[in-house]
């Protein structure tokens, strides 16, 4: 949105701008490696200006993998600059950044993202010994919550909202948006919700779609908390029963983990 500000350095496809949120490196189109070299040259010209600072990266529509971002992070760290956020229109890039624990947000939702961090007390917590974030609000259409660990939402996830987690996703409310648990390929990740009626549910590489509007309405009538997980190569959803953990069947491990995640917080 507001990338206005004083342009400190500018050259073809690589520019560094000062904004109200600090320095933003813009990498335009072109070969990735040559861009990195051009960036290094820029940083090398006034190293003292950047030293010890933190920067956000804006790559526009470019698709980047986590390893590409890591290379960039290493390059920046050579100049004692730390990368804290990656802005991109590409979902893949956002996901890669989220997996690295970097902040992500689209140009439009950037402010919203920053404010929501401050106002709505998105808390970083530890669930079952693993990192997680706890969001106490309704996640509305157009908003997204991305995290490398588990994501716990206390509130509804509305249609058009997106939750991406490296680990499990637990929604203490109605889940009607899009979710992707185990986004880094963890097939043991689960998605649990009081009302599990997502538009699109993904676990690692598996995808399940909502059965359609008519059905999902009927579905919501019978409100039972459910847990979705991968079983025999497909996503299945089962009513949540805490006692299942006692029988030692094939779900026991999954459900016990879910119970642990929940019991830590509720």
């Amino acid at each position: 949105m507001e990338h206005s500000g004083v342009e400190t350095i500018s050259r073809a496809h690589v520019s560094i701008k000062g904004t109200s949120d600090g320095l933003v490196i813009h990498l335009g189109p072109g070969d990735w490696n040559s861009l990195l070299i051009a960036l290094a040259e820029k940083l090398d010209r006034t190293p003292s200006f950047f030293r010890g600072g933190r920067v956000a990266l804006n790559v526009g529509p470019r698709q980047l993998t986590a390893s590409q971002l890591e290379t960039l992070g290493t390059l920046l760290s050579k100049f004692q600059v730390s990368l804290w956020a990656v802005l991109s229109d590409s979902v893949e890039t956002q996901r890669a950044a989220a997996e690295m624990g970097l902040e992500t947000s689209l140009a439009l939702s950037r402010t919203e993202h920053l404010i929501s961090e401050q106002l709505n007390g998105r808390e970083r917590v530890i669930a079952d010994g693993e990192p997680a974030i706890l969001v106490r609000r309704i996640v509305r259409s157009g908003q997204s919550v991305c995290h490398t660990g588990h994501v716990i939402i206390i509130g509804d996830v509305n249609p058009g909202a997106e939750i991406v987690a490296g680990g499990d996703i637990i929604v203490w409310g109605r889940l009607r948006g899009n979710v992707h648990a185990g986004s880094n390929g963890n097939e043991r990740a689960i998605v649990g919700a009081l009302v599990l009626a997502p538009m699109l549910l993904r676990i690692a590489g598996y995808v399940a779609r909502s059965p359609g509007r008519e059905d999902s309405e009927a579905y919501e009538q019978s409100v039972v908390p459910e847990v979705a997980f991968v079983h025999n190569g497909q996503i299945v959803a089962e009513p949540w029963r805490a006692t299942d953990g006692l029988y030692g069947d094939w779900r026991a491990d999954l459900l016990r983990r879910a119970a642990n995640t929940l019991s830590t917080w509720f």
């Binding site: 439009l108 939702s109 402010t111 919203e112 993202h113 404010i115 929501s116 106002l119 709505n120 609000r137 309704i138 509305r140 259409s141 157009g142 908003q143 509804d156 509305n158 249609p159 058009g160 009607r176 509007r213």
Partner: protein, 266 residues
């Protein structure tokens, strides 16, 4: 002290922002409040047409912001209702002609002289929307009972919350009780279920609205239609009165038609 600034917005276009702004402004003025309606839809100005003040325009909002005229010169007084004024949008410019701070400045200048300032927001979530909500003390989201409109409303609620504004309230427009009864239309509960914000009022679908907007006479000025009653009720609620939400069930058959029915059966 001074005026309350209320912005009417929706996300989706064509759901009734301008009609609501015109009618609520008129209704509040009829209750003896001094009201100014501002059209923030620069480039697609409509409020003047709906209010029947099109032929009175000399200066507009952009002229004021750019200093081409004094604020007082752009204020059009409605001759039909004491205390009702409007400031039109510019038709030959676009949303980038003004900034959020300009709207805040204009409203701050108007505040001492008015009880209410109503702002008609453009559709969308871009600059025009940001301009419209910037000075708002209170925001009303208007939506129709359609999935797409509700989805957009949800997006807008999220953006407003992220701005740190108070939670908006909801006007549900163009409800068709008969369709709801048949189960062919989302009902009030369905909409509130997703948006989870305070309900300010329900306006039924009413042909009188189309007639009145074409004639440039807000329905509340004639106050015979159901829609007029609904807008008057909303205005009363904005004044802090406790008016119950209108019953929109079909009027029960009159005693005469009941007898006719019995006779026919007998």
């Amino acid at each position: 002290m001074g005026a309350t600034v209320i912005t009417i917005t929706s996300g989706k276009g064509g759901v009734g922002k301008t009609t609501a702004t015109a009618n609520l402004s008129a209704a509040l003025a009829m209750r003896g409040k001094k009201v100014v309606a501002i059209d923030a839809d620069i480039g697609l100005r409509n409020l003047d047409v709906v209010m029947g003040l099109e032929n009175r325009i000399v200066y507009d909002l952009v002229n004021v912001v750019e200093g081409a005229c004094r604020l007082r010169q752009a204020l059009i007084k409605d001759k039909r209702i004491e205390n009702l004024y409007m400031i039109p949008a510019a038709q030959s410019r676009d949303k980038s002609a003004i900034r959020p701070q300009d709207m805040i400045d204009v409203c701050d200048q108007l505040r001492p002289d008015f009880d209410f300032i109503l702002i008609d927001s453009p559709a969308g979530i871009e600059q025009g929307f940001r301009n419209a909500i910037a000075p708002a003390d209170r925001i009303c989201i208007i939506t129709t009972p359609e999935v797409a409109a509700v989805r957009d409303a949800d997006r807008v609620v999220g953006l407003i919350e992220a701005e740190g504004k108070d939670a908006p309230s909801l006007i549900l427009n163009r409800l068709r009780p008969r369709m709801v009864q048949r189960g062919d239309m989302l009902d009030t509960a369905d909409v509130l279920d997703v948006l989870a914000i305070e309900l300010l009022g329900i306006v039924p679908e009413d042909e009188a609205i189309i007639v009145s907007t074409n004639r440039g006479i807000p329905v509340v000025m004639e106050n015979t239609s159901r829609a007029a009653q609904a807008f008057c009720n909303i205005a009363a609620r904005l004044l802090g009165e406790n008016v119950p939400i209108m019953e929109l069930e079909e009027p029960s058959p009159s005693w005469l038609s009941k007898i006719a029915h019995l006779v026919r059966r007998g």
